[in-house]
């Protein structure tokens, strides 16, 4: 093969070359991109990576990109910050946050997967790109399609947050609101993808799209000084991200960029939509689908496409999964904001709440290095948290009025 990658069935192993296809005709199982690591070894070195651009394209050698692909969107390479104040509250000293709440251009980790998906869309000659989405993916596809000159058709459940709806429309994308939940939207899209010659990033381009998630893992390892953490806490919707971070670590080990380590993976879900954490906790071989009922709409996938693999990755790694209630999600958002100055969306509230829970339960050793993945931005889910805050009446712009105001406030605070 000309390229160092191609599609392979995850179950029966059949090779499929490169084409817009997500499952194997033989056993209907998902396809995944596999690489010729020996051919890539001389290219994917610390030195080459460090001299690359400060975005996810520095890892191009291990992404499924067409030859001579010229990327124009400088996405990824988000901050990895040590969470000292949050760590102190949770009684751990080595807690880090991978902050994709500030991923470019649409403030979620979905910017990464769309970057690799659109490279594939270009390669296969699609003019229309599309997706089913709980919101963040919609924003990412719409924005990058605008920049790259694709037409975008976006399918969403009709009850999405206003910021995610406007944050899709503003880019000129065609928005189709479906009266149903994400799982119903996704099923419709799989039927549409059979009839229309569209590049659905998370349907027929899914194997290429999912590879973009690996860059979260590459970055974590590089930003820790080319070493792996002991634990990863990762939110789960479709379940793809957690499996891809694990794949990225295994590739780094195989290519000798980091020392071998058995990283434990911990999955985070909202209790109101927790098919994967439920399967892990009850040790089920197959997860049971659920009807989502949670404020964490970006994680509200009741029939997760990669749920089986996510649960297996967690089990095999020696990790665990947990879920948190809606009030715990809100508290998680506030805790992260108040201790670290990071405003995350509901999914980040899930990750923070679950990290707290796993530390309290003893599943995570507080002396080990733990990275929690914050995947989205709080400005997109204001409605989930707005009721927690009240506005004081506006005061006159006069010093005397302010002093009386602050005196009242001080009395109120002291009274508490």
């Amino acid at each position: 093969m000309a390229e160092h990658y191609q599609l392979k069935c995850r179950e029966c192993g059949k090779l499929w070359g490169n084409q817009p296809r997500s499952f194997c005709d033989e056993c209907l199982s998902p396809l995944e991109v596999v690489y010729d690591l020996d051919a890539i070894r001389p290219l994917f070195t610390r030195k080459n990576i460090e001299s690359g651009p400060t975005n996810l394209w520095r890892y191009s050698a291990l992404l499924p990109l067409p030859e001579d692909y010229k990327a124009t969107i400088p996405t990824g390479f988000t901050p990895l910050v040590q969470a000292r104040r949050l760590g102190k509250q949770l009684n751990t000293t080595n807690l880090y946050l991978k902050n994709d709440a500030v991923c470019f251009p649409t403030l979620s980790f979905k910017d990464r997967v769309v970057a690799t998906a659109l490279a594939a869309a270009r390669r296969f000659g699609f003019q229309v790109v599309s997706c089913s989405s709980t919101g963040n993916l919609a924003n990412a596809v719409a924005a990058q399609a605008a920049r790259e000159g694709f037409d975008a058709w976006i399918f969403i459940p009709s009850d999405l947050e206003a910021a995610k709806v406007v944050g899709t429309q503003v880019f000129g994308a065609k928005l189709v609101r479906i009266a149903g939940n994400y799982d119903q939207v996704n099923r419709l899209c799989s039927q549409i993808a059979e009839k229309y010659r569209w590049g659905f990033v998370n349907v027929n381009l899914r194997p290429y799209y999912a590879e973009g998630s690996k860059t979260v893992g590459y970055e974590i390892a590089e930003q820790l000084g080319w070493r792996l953490p002991d634990n990863i806490v990762c939110p789960m919707a479709g379940g793809s991200l957690i499996t891809k971070i694990r794949k990225s670590f295994n590739e780094l080990i195989a290519l000798g960029l980091v020392e071998e380590k058995k990283v434990k993976f911990f999955g985070a879900q909202a209790t109101g939509c927790s098919p994967i954490s439920d399967a892990v906790k009850r040790k089920l071989e197959r997860f049971e689908p659920q009807k989502p009922a949670t404020i964490a709409r970006s994680l509200a996938i009741g029939n997760p496409a990669d749920g089986f693999y996510a649960a297996r990755a967690i089990r095999d790694s020696g990790g665990w999964a947990e879920d948190v209630s809606d009030p715990e999600i809100v508290k998680g958002i506030q805790l992260l904001a108040e201790t670290e100055g990071i405003f995350t969306e509901t999914a980040g509230g899930v990750t923070t709440g679950v990290t707290k829970k796993l530390l309290e339960q003893g599943y995570i050793n507080p002396s080990e290095t733990t990275v929690a993945c914050i995947t989205g931005n709080g400005l997109k889910t204001i409605d989930a948290i707005q009721e927690e805050y009240t506005l004081t009446p506006a005061i006159e712009p006069r010093m005397t009025v302010f002093e009386s105001f602050i005196n009242d406030r001080m009395v109120a605070v002291a009274g508490n």
Binding site: C27, R187, A193, E194, Y196, R197
Partner: protein, 100 residues
């Protein structure tokens, strides 16, 4: 009165049904229905079920837009006129003829 349900076969499996897209069946449960389909199109069997005889992990069955697992799974009794959809859970892939 004889009960009739219709079953829609996904593109990926139509090569095992002689290209037939919609089947009329009269089974009353999912296990019976799989048996009925397999009796008519034996080549489809190993693509629908795994070695233990269960529906493959990555195939979803819907009845009138609802996942059959929410309706009782193997225990669900089909109603006359039910529309059954067989969909790969990681679905997608345009029809071959769209690719030239």
């Amino acid at each position: 009165m004889e009960m009739k349900i219709t079953v829609e076969i996904p593109t990926a499996l139509r090569r095992f049904t002689d290209g037939v897209q919609t089947l009329e069946c009269n089974s009353s449960t999912l296990p019976d229905l799989l048996g009925e389909i397999e009796q008519r199109f034996p080549a489809i069997t190993k693509h629908l079920r795994d070695d233990s005889g269960e529906v493959r992990r990555f195939i979803n069955i819907y009845v009138n837009e609802e996942d059959i697992r929410f309706l009782g799974g193997n225990g669900y009794k089909f109603q006359d006129g039910d529309r059954v959809l067989v969909v790969p859970s990681i679905a997608g892939g345009a029809p071959e003829d769209a690719w030239g």
